[in-house]
Symmetry: C2
Subunit: 331 residues, 2 copies
Amino acid sequence: MSLTDLGEFGLIGRIRKRFPAPEGVTGIGDDCAVIPQRSGQDTLVSTDMLVEGTHFLRDRVSPFQLGWKSAAVNLSDIAAMGGQPTATFLSVALPPDLEADWMGEFLRGYAEISARFGAALLGGDTTASPDRICINVTVLGECPAGAARLRSAAQAGDLVCVTSTLGDSAAGLKAILEGVETDADIQALINRHYLPLPRVAEGLRLAATPGVHAMMDISDGIGSDLRHILEASGVGAVIDVPALPLSPALQRTCARLGWDAAALATGGGEDYELLFTCTPEAEKMLDVPHTVIGTVTERRSRIEPGMTDIEWRGAEGPVAGFDHFKRQSPV
Amino acid sequence: MSLTDLGEFGLIGRIRKRFPAPEGVTGIGDDCAVIPQRSGQDTLVSTDMLVEGTHFLRDRVSPFQLGWKSAAVNLSDIAAMGGQPTATFLSVALPPDLEADWMGEFLRGYAEISARFGAALLGGDTTASPDRICINVTVLGECPAGAARLRSAAQAGDLVCVTSTLGDSAAGLKAILEGVETDADIQALINRHYLPLPRVAEGLRLAATPGVHAMMDISDGIGSDLRHILEASGVGAVIDVPALPLSPALQRTCARLGWDAAALATGGGEDYELLFTCTPEAEKMLDVPHTVIGTVTERRSRIEPGMTDIEWRGAEGPVAGFDHFKRQSPV
């Protein structure tokens, strides 16, 4: 059945059935969702758009994976503040000839990860697109008043840390784009690209730890993302490139295929790990698995405009970030 | 200057400069916006997507108008609940060769209507699109706990009312699509299409009036929108078609060009007026300009699936609504 046969309200009916509203909340089906507030909490909001041809290719990613990832990248923004996701809002623009099954699978992936992190789908928009699929998710979350970890809170003397490992998603993307034959390692890397796991529990624990200062999630690669923390905080950093945490799958794959693991770990995006700074004392107390990758420094007094105050120690080549209008690698 | 030259972070910098965050709020520039809550309030959230080729044609609508309308249709959803808009979040997918000036004009329109209704732009996403512009706005608002006017609250015996006049936007769209020569009336109709004014003040006053029950904004035409209220409330309605409020500009234009004013007023969308039901006693007390267009009835016991329980008295032809996957009229 095509979307034209199902109709807009048929589609909304299916979505509504799959995502019932929590008790006390007005969800899908009115002009707005109505969410009662808990006093003493701050509301967190973030939004992300995925466009076919820029962020994904319809024949490469399964609708389940795309639904999962659409929710995951947004939930990750709440994790990055140290918050608890509460609700999401999903807008989809779909070509009328798209199979209704495609959307069913998309919703299955979206529902699976949303349920895992306790986020209710409370509304959205369904509309037609002449050709490309376009997806926008807005996520709401909450945290105790004043507890959100901002990018601007890094202090000279802090350690720079990351959760888990870096570069897997970028290596998975590279494997997809280059058509590398799939083995267990390649499959693990591709899964990290298509089915990222936002670090919500880790973010909550980090935000509850005194001395954890700036925090963000890694979506564009630490080469780009760390720059945001440093600029917002008015500080610099020294990063120890050989200390970057690399998964065994990434190390084996890079050794086998001659790929540059450090370049993937610094320049590749979409890891959705947490990048944070904390005092050396706090670092000793952390109950979240992490790796120390460098140190926050005073900002060097003279730095050219557009240059970033990061010293990459032990790097063999230049380290780049990601700009959506300058470089594109869809999948 | 093209967007490629400006770069993603150049664009974000411009947006951030134009939309500074209100005191006490963390806006653009972190993973999430952080919005302190006022206890005793309900949070309202809605989201809407506009896709080039479905909702607008780039060579027909000015970027100022599109920016205005993108914000307006979302603010209207807050108005439809009887809430006060507080914040918006803007996602844009832009072709890299788009002139940066286009986006500047878009933001000027977006800023002008946002300021008029007190809504701060607190975040968003900027990304590349291979070809078509895609825009998604999420709006947050608030109202006293329990005060939001839902679609499900209509009661048999209520009067059905609308603010201002119907059909102007649809007539403006028709004039654009048919290339009708512009006179003062046509220009007024086109302005209603491109520069709609959300009825925020009216919605707040209506929600503060006891006896005002169901409320929504008219985006798809009352033929479709009223159906949502009736289905959500489990009631029917009788609408007096000759009572539908028509602007002098619409009446004159329809007389001159032989257009069907009633069809435009019932089947055409994007008026962004408020459609509401209230008790006859409440209607006498209203301090909001409005027109009574019919009555809510008990639901007829036997009604065919898919049929709507609306009796259109005095209608000369069939009355249709709008389904995004079935009929499209871009501009």
